[in-house]
Assembly symmetry: C2
Homo-oligomer: 191 residues x 2
Amino acid sequence: MVSDKREAIITASRTLFRQYGVKKTSMQDIAREAKIAVGTVYLYFKSKEEVVAAGVGEYREIHKQQTLAATRGSSSPADRLRTYIRQRFRACADTRKAGSHAAEIARAVVRVQPDRFLEESEWFFQTVQSILEQGAQQGEFSLETAEVDTTVFLYSIAWFFPYERSEFFPEPDEETLMASVEWFIRKWTKR
Amino acid sequence: MVSDKREAIITASRTLFRQYGVKKTSMQDIAREAKIAVGTVYLYFKSKEEVVAAGVGEYREIHKQQTLAATRGSSSPADRLRTYIRQRFRACADTRKAGSHAAEIARAVVRVQPDRFLEESEWFFQTVQSILEQGAQQGEFSLETAEVDTTVFLYSIAWFFPYERSEFFPEPDEETLMASVEWFIRKWTKR
C-alpha cells in the first residue's frame, strides 16, 4: 500500500535522525533502514527536507487531534486539562529521546517550517485558555481572567517542556508536573 | 591593599572567562587583564581552579546575604519574597551574560565545587519556604502546606532561571516573572 511505504520511510528517518542526526543521515541510509529501494523513496519525497517536514507534519496532526479532544470532549474541564497536559508532556519527552541530536533536529525543523514552534505554543495556549473558559462558564473554575490564569499556568509548567536534555538538570518528571497541575486545579475549584 | 588585588584578579578572570571561556584563559592572561605581575597573582591563587572557586565563593556570599535579608527583614513576607526572587533572577541573568561560554563556566564550577548547584537550589527552597511559613504564622498567607506551596511555586518559576541561553526560546523577562509571583501572592493572600 502507498501509505504503508510513506509511513515506513518516515519511521526509518526518525530512527536514523535520533541515532545519527539529520546531517549525517542520507536518503540512501533512509531507504536502507526502511528496506525500500532509494528510487522508490524519491517517489514519495524529493529531498531529505521533505522527509523532515513529513515527520513534523505527523506530530502536528497528533497535536491537532489532542487539541480537538481537549476542547470538545464530554469529560470535565479539569479532566480534559489533565489528559491534554499529560499528552503534551509525553510528546515533548518523546522528542527529547533524540538525545544529543535533539537540537540539530529542532534546527532542521525550524529550517523547513520556520513557524513550527510558535504555532505549537499558540495551540497550547489557546487549548488551555479554552478549557479554562469552559470551566468558568460551567461554574467549575473560578479564574481571575482566562488569559491571566492561562499565562501564569503555562509559564508555571514551561520548565517541564525543554526541547533538549540538560547536562545540569535531571529529566523533568511526569508525576511532579501532574502534582503542579493538581495544585492549580485545586486553586481554580476552591469555593 | 591586599584585598584590592585579590578583587582585581577575580574581576579580571570573570571578564576573560565570559569572553573566551575558562579553558582558553591562562593565569598569564588574568594577570595581564588585572594589570598585576603573574608572580603576584600566584601569591593569591595557586591555580586557575582556585580563581574559579573564589569567583563562585563571592556569588555564594551574595546569595547568603540575600537569604538572610529575605528571612529576617522587617518588611512583609510578600515584599521580602518579591525582593528575593528579583535578586535571584538578576543574579542568574548575570551569569548568562557569559553567553556561549556559560555552559563551560558552569562545568568548571561543578569541577571545583561539585555540590554548588544543589546547595544553591536548597538555599532557594529553604528561603522561600521560610518566607511562606512566616506569612502563614502572621496570618498574611493561607497555604496548603508551606512545603507543597514552595515546591509548586519553585517549579512554576524555574523556567525563568536557565543556566544557559537557549537558541529556541527568548531570554526570560523579569516583568513576566514578577507578574507570576504576584499571581501566587494573590492566591496566598485571598481570604
